[in-house]
Amino acid sequence: MNTIDEQLWDYIDGNLDKTQASAIKEKINTDAEFKSKYEELVRFNLNFDKIELEEPSMSFTRNVMESIAFEPAPIAMKTKVDKRIIYSIGSFFILSLLILFGYMLYNANLTMPGFDRKVNFSFNLDKYITPTTVYSFLFADVVIGLIFLDQFLREKMAQSKKV
């Protein structure tokens, strides 16, 4: 393909900026050969609009719908992996760790006589990790688990209603 054709196609397709477009327009107006080539391409281009799309068989949509009838319903990825759930689980565990760490720091006897770097962590851990603390921790886990189970069952129920 020669350069004239390329330039003219770019002009017809609207791929040129204002300066380039006006330069081509100027050429079309002044150069007879350029003008006749341009008119030929415009005529050729106009024919593309006349092309009609092909029509599939009458049963096409029905066939597609029958094929997908037994497929599981599509679910948005954001529903599959809800960021809020991830963040809530993450923040729960981070908070638990921070509380434990805070307690440790609060009760630790951090002494540094001279440079012997002796750190005394002698605090009574049993005093804080009581059955009540463990039960509260487990209770929070069970609640989170139940929330998940509830969501899972709701989705299942919605899917079975559709089928």
Binding site: E6, R43, P56, A73
Partner: protein, 193 residues
């Protein structure tokens, strides 16, 4: 696309459980997907199979549609990939050409035109004939650009190519199409175009 219910609204409904709404999406895009498939398959039965396969694949993957591009662009990417896979399979099938029982029958498009005694038909018919004789990639680019009203960038996404490459390929495809028309219609091409 100025439609009462946009593609994205329909997709939202489908993802919320109204799966029957998918038939509206199919009806809306089936003609173009079928036409695109026909550029590869060259016969209606195979093209219909490809097009159906595309819509089933699109349905299964609808949840992964990120909505950063037009649904049509996403659907045409699936169509192109499916059609290419079909062509590859078809090529593998025809590798048995050395088989004694296999014979090749070449279709003579020109003679078909001659036999019709250059029956006067509209430019649409001849253009369609010429497009079917193009290479699948050329025919696809022309179909996407003119009938699919896709930009060079969108065609680039569909065919996994740079927009500049698409621009060059489009220029060449149009040139080849013109040559095909000239070959098919000889002197009539000037009258037609």
């Amino acid at each position: 696309m100025t439609q009462e219910i946009t593609d994205l609204m329909l997709i939202e409904k489908i993802l919320n459980g109204q799966t029957d709404q998918y038939s509206l999406l199919v009806k809306r895009h089936q003609r173009f997907v079928f036409t695109l498939a026909l550029r590869f398959a060259k016969n209606r039965e195979d093209a219909e199979e490809i097009a159906q396969d595309c819509f089933i694949k699109a349905y299964k993957a609808l949840g992964t549609f990120k909505q950063t591009s037009k649904f049509s662009t996403w659907l045409y990417t699936i169509t192109y990939t499916t059609a290419m896979t079909f062509l590859r399979k078809k090529r593998l099938d025809t590798l048995s050409i050395n088989d004694d029982e296999t014979f090749l029958q070449l279709e003579n498009h020109t003679s078909a035109f001659m036999a019709n005694g250059y029956e006067r038909k509209d430019s649409h018919h001849f253009l369609n004939q010429a497009i079917t004789q193009l290479m699948p990639d050329d025919a696809t680019i022309i179909t996407l650009f003119y009938q699919g009203e896709q930009s060079l960038e969108e065609i680039g996404i569909t065919l996994h190519m740079e927009p500049n490459t698409i621009k060059v390929k489009l220029h060449r495809a149009r040139q080849r199409l013109k040559e095909k028309l000239q070959y098919l219609l000889k002197d009539e091409v000037k009258e037609l175009l």
